[in-house]
């Protein structure tokens, strides 16, 4: 089974804004500034998979300084005090929150995985047989952050039938 994906860049941008407002920038002084550059570099990333009515991944990727800053904001710590474990935990939670909200916009019957975190750059090889269908790309205090959706090609084929 496959579906027309109805989660577009604007939807993702709205979710991202809520995450910034809730956790990363509650004072509203340091938003994610859009770059629209889907090829911007990342050094760490986290993802959740969604299966069922839609099959694919939601990926949060950033530079290491941006990840440290995010962890610091969540944990009320200075970025340079953040451990690798803290980084993994916060990156996983960010993927979980955004992935969960994406899932809510899909037709019923979608299942969300627990998050996976890789302290290495995002690479398409990690999501075999997928294609990027949507994304928000920006700079947060001069550091790259992106949130993207990768749809399984198998999901597409079935949808074409």
């Amino acid at each position: 089974m496959s579906v027309e994906v109805e989660v577009n860049e604007n939807d993702l941008a709205e979710m991202v804004e809520q995450v910034w407002e809730s956790y990363l920038d509650p004072e509203g002084v340091s938003p994610l500034i859009p770059t629209y550059d889907e090829n911007q570099a990342s050094e760490v990333h986290s993802s959740v998979s969604i299966t069922g009515s839609w099959t694919g991944y939601v990926v949060y990727a950033s530079s290491t300084p941006a990840a440290r800053r995010a962890a610091g904001a969540f944990l009320a710590m200075e970025p340079d005090e953040v451990s690798e474990e803290d980084l993994s935990d916060v990156l996983g939670e960010l993927a979980n929150i955004i992935g969960g909200n994406v899932k809510a916009m899909l037709p019923p019957g979608a299942l969300l995985s627990l998050p996976q975190v890789v302290l290495a750059p995002e690479a398409t090889a990690r999501y075999p047989n997928t294609q990027r269908i949507s994304g928000v790309y920006g700079m947060w205090d001069g550091e790259p952050v992106s949130i993207s959706m990768w749809q399984s090609r198998g999901d597409n084929k079935e949808g074409a039938e």
Binding site: V19, Y23, D86, E93, G100, A104
Partner: protein, 131 residues
């Protein structure tokens, strides 16, 4: 006056920390657990049952919905107020959680103000605690 106790149950340490910050600010004593199983073991061993549990849904070992079901089946724990705090935001999931015995539902991401308003709605903090 004895402070109220809140149990914060989430597999993310960062999320537990955020929730602990909020409830501590509201004068709750906070205890935490990393999944439903750990929370259930903890709560059944406590002399005083916490008044409030903030519960994530997607966790390893025992998820939040299973935790709610276990708590509701235990008469000793019936006074606990159960609030799901989760990314599971579809209407059908909310209905499942409420049917299992959760009292309220907070969708991540949430602001501190939104959480406090929800706890005020449940009568656990004074109305206006957010101001």
């Amino acid at each position: 006056m004895t402070p109220m106790r809140a149990m914060v149950i989430d597999d993310s340490r960062a999320m537990r920390m955020i929730l602990k910050r909020i409830v501590t600010k509201l004068n709750f004593e906070a205890v935490e657990a990393g999944d439903g199983k750990e929370a259930l073991d903890l709560v059944t061993s406590m002399a005083e049952v916490p008044e409030l549990a903030l519960i994530d849904w997607n966790m390893p070992n025992m998820n939040g919905l299973e935790f709610v079901t276990h708590v509701r089946a235990d008469p000793r724990l019936r006074e606990m107020t159960l609030v799901m705090v989760t990314t599971e935001s579809e209407q059908s999931q909310i209905v499942r959680a409420l049917a299992a015995g959760a009292h309220e539902y907070v969708i991540k991401p949430f602001t501190e103000g939104a959480m406090i308003e929800k706890l005020a709605l449940l009568g656990l903090v004074p109305t206006g605690a957010n101001s």
